[in-house]
């Protein structure tokens, strides 16, 4: 299978701290790559490096054979990289419909008229259709997370970056998110899914990457990774300590 995304020796620094430390990953077309790791291990920072929010200190990001290391987030989005935020950053004074429309009009470069069908479809899929005229600022957490996914989908991504979309949700809500993610995968979108809850990841991911302190610990099929000694160590060490 072809690689949609190649991250080469990426290093992202905040002052002295190397939040992502010479990390390399390859993401294959059509797969779900799960990323796990303790809090503060650099998962979100890695994702920000891929979506262009943070400029790397060194290393490169290659998307569909194009070196996008110097591209703005906006350009990366229009090229086909969509993302969600761990802490939702929805457009509070815009309606749910308008939030998603932004993705269609800008990210997918559609006219407002053409984007309309797509937006309705996505609202239906993410279970937001009956709330389309509510202000995003009035939504509860689950709906905000749904809206994050819906907006990203509207940009027509080939690669979708999900940052803890299931965190903070109830069991039933997590299953709902899982259903949506699986559906997105079926439609041919490659997905990088960061999640802290291991069970969710197990069910959906084709491969799992575990990082700690900004470095790759292990990468492989989910069962292998979870069973690995070093993974057990960082997780138990941090979680129960």
């Amino acid at each position: 299978m072809e690689n949609v995304l190649i991250v080469e020796n990426l290093t992202i620094a905040f002052g002295q701290l190397l939040a992502v430390n010479s990390l390399s990953i390859e993401v294959r077309e059509g797969e779900i790559l799960g990323i796990i790791g303790p809090n503060g291990s650099g998962k979100t920072t890695l994702l920000n490096g891929i979506s262009g929010l943070y400029k790397p200190k060194s290393g490169s990001v290659i998307f569909k054979d194009i070196d996008i290391t110097d591209f703005s987030p906006s350009r990366r989005c229009r090229l086909g990289i969509g993302r969600t935020y761990q802490v939702p950053r929805t457009f509070e004074k815009m309606t749910v419909y308008e939030n998603v429309l932004v993705g269609g009009v800008y990210g997918a470069s559609l006219s407002e008229k053409k984007a309309r069908y797509k937006v309705y479809e996505i609202l239906e899929l993410t279970g937001l259709l009956h709330k389309k005229d509510l202000f995003a600022g009035s939504l509860a957490l689950l709906d905000r997370k749904r809206l994050e996914v819906a907006r990203a989908l509207a940009t027509n991504p080939q690669l979708l970056l999900l940052d803890e979309v299931a965190a903070g949700l109830t069991e039933a809500e997590v299953n709902e998110v899982l259903r949506i993610v699986k559906y997105i995968k079926e439609s041919g979108v490659t997905i990088i899914w960061i999640e802290h809850i291991l069970r969710t990841m197990m069910e959906a991911a084709d491969r799992v990457l575990c990082i700690a302190s900004g470095k790759k610990l292990i990468c492989g099929n989910p069962k292998e990774v979870l069973a690995a000694e070093e993974v057990q160590e960082v997780y138990l060490g941090v979680e129960e300590g």
Partner: protein, 322 residues
């Protein structure tokens, strides 16, 4: 019961929106025929400040560009008018238009360095550019140093002429902002207003959107400035490039409701009327305006209209999509 009544009234207003707007414009058109000169001049001021405030709101309320240097475009507009008509006897209309174009080009030139500055630095940067222009103009022999110009070409205009010019720029500015907000650019601007980072990562070209707003703001502010100096007849660098202009814009937008089209409409009426009443207390008028702004920011930080919209969920000139 009360709430239901409000809802019914609101729906009525919504259904008859364009009817109401047309009616209002018709009434405004007739004002010079029956109102006193004083009333006409009040409306004139309202229209001119409305244009300035709408533009400042477009920048600060939507594009995230808090400029304290909008007076640079008023000065450039006013001075272009004065120089072209006084020194070259150029026609009024083209002088005003050329002023707008000069402001636009000036905005484009300074945008390169000034857009690199973020937030507070941008704000201070714009103010410094305006101050530099003020000093430059008061030391420039070609524009008669600090002494200034009488714009004698304006003597041929009556208050009625002035009223209609102000009306066009005032209501025109509302129309411009409304059309922008309903367009593709407007969708991006609202996203930028709510969350710039998220907008950027959803494909919105934030820099481009901001630049377009800055240029439109420069052009319209300049035209409004020219019209103001046509009315005032006399221009000097210290007033023309003074920060008082932008202070007024900020006041109007903040008390009316930032990031809404209707906010500046309400704010400008309050501002102009207050200023008229406080006219005899020149020393404390700024103090009173400042106090009002501070109290309002604490009681209703979203301004008059912003608070009303939140309570009633009603936007008269709504840019909403469905």
């Amino acid at each position: 019961m009360g709430k239901e009544c409000v809802t019914i009234v609101i729906n009525d207003i919504r259904n008859y929106k364009w009817f109401i707007i047309t009616g209002l414009i018709a009434v405004l058109l007739t004002i010079p025929f029956w109102a006193s000169n004083y009333t006409v001049s009040i409306f004139l001021l309202i229209f001119m400040y409305l244009a300035l405030a709408q533009m400042w709101n477009l920048l600060a309320g939507y594009a995230g560009l808090v400029s304290l240097g909008q007076q640079m475009f008023i000065g450039l507009g006013g001075y272009t008018l004065a120089v072209l008509t006084e020194l070259y006897r150029a026609p009024l209309w083209s002088s005003i238009l050329i002023g707008g174009v000069i402001s636009l080009i000036f905005a484009l030139i300074i945008s390169a360095p000034i857009f690199r500055m973020r937030e507070a630095y941008f704000t201070i940067g714009t103010w410094l550019v305006a101050e530099a222009l003020k000093i430059f103009f008061s030391n420039w022999g070609y524009v008669r140093y600090g002494q200034g110009f009488f714009i004698t070409a304006a003597y041929q205009l009556t208050t009625t002429h002035m009223y209609y010019m102000a009306m066009v720029i005032g209501l025109g500015s509302v129309a411009v902002v409304y059309i922008i907000l309903r367009s593709r650019l407007g969708l991006g601007l609202m996203a930028i207003r709510d969350n710039e980072t998220a907008a950027e990562s959803m494909g919105v070209e934030v820099f481009k959107a901001k630049l377009i707003c800055f240029l439109i703001g420069a052009f319209v502010t300049s035209i409004a400035g020219s019209i103001f100096y046509l009315y005032q007849v006399f221009i000097q660098p210290y007033a023309a490039f003074g920060i008082d202009w932008t202070v007024a814009m900020v006041f109007i937008v903040i008390i009316g409701g930032i990031g809404t089209i209707e906010g500046p409409l309400a704010g400008v009426v309050i501002y102009v009327l207050l200023r008229q009443y406080l006219y005899n207390y020149a020393g404390i008028s700024m103090l009173v305006l400042g106090l009002i702004a501070i109290v309002l920011i604490h009681v209703a930080p979203k301004g008059f209209i912003g608070t009303l919209q939140e309570k009633l969920g009603f936007e008269f000139l709504s840019p909403r999509r469905r």
